[in-house]
Structure formats: C-alpha cells, structure tokens
C-alpha cells in the first residue's frame, strides 16, 4: 500500500485588517500561519497618515502645537514638550522656574494616563473581560479632570508655549493634584493585585515576544520596550531636558525583554511618576510663567535642532530646520512607535497566532505617531 508522504499543506494567510478590535488603531497585519504557528508577518501602516509634518511647514510654532497634540494623542504633553524645548533652544529662551515645574508635573501625570491606557488595552487583549480596563480608565479620568481644570481640554491640551506656559494654573492646583495622587496610588495597587501575580496572566505573557538587548538596540527600540530588555537607557537621565536632573527617581529595568517584563516596567514607571509629581509639587513656587518681553511673532534664527524627550512610548523627537521665519522650513517627527514597530516581525514569528495579539498590545502603539 503506497503511503502518502507528500500531504499537501498550506500556509494560511490571515489578515488582521485595518478594522479589528485589538489592533489599537488602523493597523493591518498579514500573518502567514502554519497550523498554529506564525511563519511570516507583514505589517501595513499608513492608514492614519494626515500629513502632519507638511502641515507644520505652513504653521508657526504656536499653531504647530495643536498638530503635535494630535500626532501623539495619548501623551500630548510630551509631544508639546519636544516642540517647545526645541524652539526654546533655537531661540535661546530662558524658561522661568515655575513654568518648568508645572511642565514636569503635567508631563508625568500624562505618563501615568498613557500607561493606564496601556494597561487597560493590554489586559483587554489578554482576555480580561474589562475589569482592568475600567480600573485603568477610572484613574485616567481623575487625572483628566485635573487637565480639564488647568488647560480646558481632556485630551488635546495645547498648553505649553515656547518660553513657558499659555496661562497659569488655578489656585487650588496643588491640593487637587495631591488628592488625585491618592486615588492614583490606589488604582495602581488595584491593577497590580489583579494582574501581576495572576498565574493565568503570567502564563499568557511570560516568555512571549522576547527580545535580547543587542537586538533591541539594533532595531532602534526605545522607552519601556528597550528598558524591559535590560538596557538602562532613559532620556531623562541620559540627556536631561527640562529640569529632570533635579529630581530623584528610579528607572525600572526588566530582565528578559518579554511581554511580562514590559508590563512590569510600565507599572513601575507609573509609581516613579507619582514620586516625581510629589517632588515637583513640593518645589512649586510663585513666579512668572513666561519670560519677560516675549515677542508676538517667534522668529527663530536659521539653523537646525533635534530635541528628543522620553515619551511614555519611547523617544519622541522633533527635528526642526529653520530658515529665519516664524514657520519651520522642515519639521521632522521622530516617532517612538514607528521604531518600536520595526521589531514586531522578529518578536512574533515562531509564536502562536493568539500571541501575536498580545505582543502587538505590549508595544503600546499609537497609530497617529506611526503614520503622522
């Protein structure tokens, strides 16, 4: 009896299309699946391209702040910070002390909201039926209430200006932030107790999507993705901007570079952000928020500058080429998620299809940043 030794098998292409509940935005992945294992992965991006960099060429720096808000829409304060610090360095502006302190408070609170969003969406990917999601969003809402009281908007702030801030914070700012930090600590503990030692969660995330430190540096990863692989690199310590060198905080570093470590790093970063905010609240003094004699039109001298900040997702950078007018000649955005996404294929190939979703969630993608 002849034995068939050539069974025709087929690698099925599976399309996780632009509209999908768990691709975190309009992102398309085409997986080639052999049985249950992923053999090949091709990402397709560009569905959210809005021409941000080109638009900025027709806008002056104050108008461009709104564009940067909408590019990195989950951590807008960091995007604004990159832009305003770049312009300040070009023009040689001196930012008053109070404005720097408030900038740091806002940026770190924004880091907490961004990581809360990550925890919520990531746990929904892992399969928790919305419990961690609502915990995370409850914390986010408390902090967004503060943002609404200060800037007027819950997500697209437009608050930082080159030289300082647009307007001063309300009088009860310090008490409000302290009250909210109580809630935040409780919320982080809730999520910690629910997920971190949960055996099912660990079974789902341990050892998945691991990346070694050399590979991470080769691919250009940054932020929590890089730190989870064991590389102690944080722009706030390595190339301090704003007044971060005056604050006392730790930089959490992972060990194995897998999905679980990325989750742990982000969870711990939230706690460190709370520490920074408390120190900044202590050091907040009265004073001006804009340097004296700010001109109406901010003409930057010809030149170029790159400024990167430690956004929650990695290194968000703005590269400005100025030709002497008040509008940039070229504004290039170095987006953290674009670089982080490059490592996706290496992380997913060899794993199961179900893990592809979890790994994608662990990158914490913001499509606005990837596509600009």
């Amino acid at each position: 009896m002849a034995v068939e030794h050539d069974l025709e098998t087929m690698e099925i292409p599976v399309n996780m299309g632009p509209q999908h509940p768990s691709t975190h935005g309009v992102f398309r992945m085409v997986l080639k699946v052999d049985g249950e294992r992923v053999v090949e992965l091709v990402p397709h991006i560009g569905y959210l391209h809005r021409g941000a960099e080109k638009l900025c060429e027709n806008m002056d720096y104050r108008q461009g702040i709104g564009i940067h808000d909408r590019t990195e829409y989950l951590a807008p304060f960091h995007a604004e910070l990159a832009l305003v610090i770049a312009v300040e360095k070009l023009m040689g502006l001196e930012v008053p002390e109070r404005a720097e302190q408030i900038r740091i408070i806002m940026a770190e609170l924004n880091r907490i909201t961004s990581h809360m969003m990550f925890v919520g969406a990531f746990s929904a990917d892992a399969g928790v039926f919305g419990t961690a999601f609502t915990y995370a969003f409850r914390e986010r809402e408390y902090i967004q209430d503060i943002f609404e009281e200060v800037t007027g908007d819950r997500t697209m702030y437009g608050y930082f200006r080159p030289g300082g801030l647009a307007w001063d914070v309300p009088d009860d700012f310090v008490e409000r932030v302290r009250a909210v930090l109580e809630h935040t600590r409780q919320g982080i503990d809730d999520i910690d107790n629910l997920l971190t030692k949960n055996e099912v969660f660990m079974a789902r995330t341990r050892g998945i999507g691991a990346m070694s430190a050399e590979e991470a540096i080769d691919w250009g990863l940054s932020g929590p993705m890089l730190r989870a692989c064991g590389v102690r690199h944080d722009l706030r310590k390595a190339q301090p901007y704003c007044i971060y060198d005056r604050f006392d905080f730790d930089v959490p570093v992972g060990q194995y570079g897998d999905v679980y470590d990325r989750y742990l790093v982000r969870l711990e970063e939230m706690r460190q952000s709370v520490r920074i905010v408390e120190q900044a609240l202590e050091g907040l003094r009265d004073g001006p928020i804009m340097p004296k004699k700010m001109r109406r039109r901010l003409r930057t001298p010809p030149g170029e500058i790159y400024q990167g900040v430690e956004a929650p997702r990695g290194e968000y950078g703005v590269y400005i080429v100025s030709d002497g007018t008040d509008k940039p000649y070229r504004m290039k955005i170095r987006s953290a998620c674009f670089a982080n996404l490059m490592g996706l294929r290496d992380m997913v190939v060899g794993h199961f299809v179900a893990d592809a979703v979890v790994i994608l969630g662990s990158i914490d993608m913001v499509l606005g940043e990837v596509d600009r």
Binding site: T134, A203, S212
Partner: protein, 372 residues
C-alpha cells in the same frame, strides 16, 4: 376532583407537565441571569450596568430578547441548510435533557433516575455535536476552525469533569442524585473532597466557555468562534444554551458538592424552604462563575489543552485513587479530607511551577557598554 388527581398521577401527564415546568423555569432563569450577569460584572468594574431600560435596568433581558427576535435571520448562501438551521437546537437539547434528572427539592424533579448522575453526564456530553454542526455548516473557514477548537475543548474537559463526579459518587455510594444529596446530611461533600470540587469548578468553567477558557467566543482573537454566521433567533438559542448550562452546572455543583437542599436544613423542612435553600446555593455558585469571568484573562488553546490533559486529568485520577484507598480500607472520613487536601496543594504547586520565571535560553544577555 378524583378524576383530576388520577389524571395528574398518570406518568405521561406527570412527565409532560414536569418538562413544561422545567422549560418555563429555564427560560425565566436565563432571562434573570442575563440581567444579573451584566449587573454583577458592572459592579466588579465599579460601574452601574444597565439602568435605562425600566427601573434599574430590570427590563434589559426583555429588551435584548425583543431585539434578537426582531433581527433578520441570515443564512450564508452556500451553507449546508439543514445542518445550519438545526445546529442551535442540537446545542440546546442536551442541556435541556439534563434537567430531567436534577432534583430541585426532595420531591420536586421531573424524574428521580437511579442512574441520575450517569445520565446527566452522558447527555451533556452531546452538546459538542451542535458546535461542530455550526462550525461546519457556516461555510467559513474561520468558523470551522473555531468550531473544531471549541469541540476539542468541550470533549477534553468532559473527562476531568466526569472523573471528579465519579470520585464524589464513590464516597456517596450512589448515582441517584436525590440520595447523593441526602448522603450529605451531616457534612457536605466539598469538605471530604475539595480537590474534586476544584476540578469540577475548573472543568465546568471550561464546559461553559467562560473566562479563563473562553477561546471559542474570544472577540479579540483572530479566529472568531463557530457562532459568527448566526444572528437573530438562532444566535439567541446559543446564548440561551450558554446560560442554561450555567444554571445546570451550578445546580449540579450545589446538589453534589454543597449538600443541596439537605445540608443543613434536614429532610423535614417544607418543600418551599428547600427550594429556596437550593436556589441560594445555586446562586452562590453562579456568582462564583461570574466572579471568575470578571477576573481572569483567557488562556491560549494549547495552554488550555495542556492544563486539561497534564494537570486536571492526573489530579482527577489521583483523587479517585486516594478516595478508593480510604474507602476500601475503611479509614475514617477525615482521611478523605487529608488526602484530598494534599492533592489540592499539589495542584497549587503545579500551577505555580508552570508560571514561575525561568531564564530564557537563547535571548538573555544584558547590553555591554550600557548607555548612561
């Protein structure tokens, strides 16, 4: 009046009336469970749940039912017509049949079968056929894959479920469900066999396709379940079956492990009191299942399978072996507790050992020449 009594004594009439009563009970309970689940999960997530349809959202189940009944009944053009249309009923009927043998109180059941437990287990084991029918007949390769995965899950977890029930029936000495309840007059069986209870709960969670075992209905995975081509009334049959099964397994667990309507009321309590007591225990188990749903992420299909075959099955055999040992040698009852408790600790150890971090063989190094 005598004619009426004789009429009601007729076994055929008795049986049919009993079945109708059970059918009405199932429908009412399912409507209530839909509402309770939404409210309970909402409370876990610190939100309110349905509030708009009727006072406190009490009419939500009715609104859902009306919506589902009014939906268009779609059928894929190339679907296998009769298989497609009969699949929902093929899933519902075994669950309904199992209610025939469940005693609600001492004197209330459709039928007090001598082989009650055997019958229940045999009949519920048929429900996977309907899933396969649904997956095959949908003319959709993802539905087929989902259907086969769901069927594999259901069939695999039948075995630990049955073995756990076998262990319990060994100690009770009977398969008749009413006698099993009465055998727990002094102490409920969960005290003598906690390991069997744990295996029963885990296997029941999997049979019900709930977190952490809800791969077939996972929304954030690539492959949708076998139900994706169904809509309207047919889909509502699947939905109904899932809650009817929840009710069934909770009743079974309350009767077999928690002492049903007997512990600790005694045999002479009135039938309504017994029914209430039984309802209370059943509700407790239902809430435990819902609580688990809100807390756990979902396991991957291979982790699910290995949990069943490599963990639950050996533990079930261990439980039977140890119980057999104790019963044959006539050791006192607390030896049962000792052996079963030891088995439960072994289960806990296995779960911990499976997820503790271990160094990843290939990708481990920390970067040399670290930055800052």
């Amino acid at each position: 009046m005598d004619h009426l009594d004789e009429f009601l004594e007729n076994p055929w009439v008795n049986g049919i009336l009993g079945l109708l009563a059970v059918l009405v009970l199932i429908i009412l309970v399912v409507l209530a469970l839909i509402y309770i689940e939404r409210k309970f999960l909402a409370r876990i997530q610190m939100r309110l749940g349905p509030m708009r349809t009727g006072p406190y959202g009490l009419l939500q189940s009715l609104a859902d039912a009306i919506k589902l009944l009014a939906k268009e009944d779609l059928r894929p053009a190339r679907a296998d017509r009769w298989v497609f249309e009969l699949a929902p009923y093929a899933v519902f009927v075994p669950g309904f049949l199992a209610f025939v043998a469940i005693p609600f109180t001492r004197n209330w059941a459709v039928s007090f079968l001598e082989l009650g437990l055997f019958y229940v287990v045999a009949v519920t084991g048929l429900s996977f056929v309907g899933l396969l029918m649904a997956g095959w007949a949908s003319d959709n390769k993802y539905a087929l894959l989902g259907g086969m995965r769901a069927a594999a899950q259901l069939i695999s977890y039948e075995i630990p479920l049955v073995l756990a029930l076998v262990a319990v029936s060994m100690v009770a000495g009977t398969l008749n469900l009413r006698e099993m309840v009465e055998a727990q007059g002094r102490v409920p069986l969960v005290v003598w066999q906690p390991l069997a209870f744990f295996i029963f709960m885990a296997a029941a969670l999997s049979e019900l396709e709930r977190q952490p075992f809800d791969i077939p209905t996972a929304e954030s995975e690539v492959v949708g379940g076998p139900y994706i081509e169904y809509s309207g009334i047919r889909w509502s049959m699947f939905f109904l079956t899932s809650y009817a099964n929840l009710f069934l397994y909770s009743l079974l667990g309350a009767a077999v492990f928690l002492g049903g309507w007997d512990w600790f009321l005694g045999r002479d309590a009135g039938p309504w009191l017994q029914a209430l007591w039984m309802a209370g225990k059943t509700t407790f188990l239902i809430l435990v299942f819902m609580w688990a749903r809100g807390t756990f992420p979902r396991l991957r299909i291979d982790q699910l399978m290995s949990l069943c075959w490599k963990v639950l099955l050996p533990l079930a055999f261990l439980q039977i072996f140890l119980s057999g040992l104790v019963l044959v040698h006539g050791w006192p009852d607390w030896a049962l507790l000792l052996t079963s408790g030891a088995g439960l600790l072994a289960a806990a150890y296995i779960v911990w050992a499976a997820v503790r971090p271990r160094p990843l063989a290939v990708r481990e190094a920390v970067a040399s020449g670290s930055v800052a």
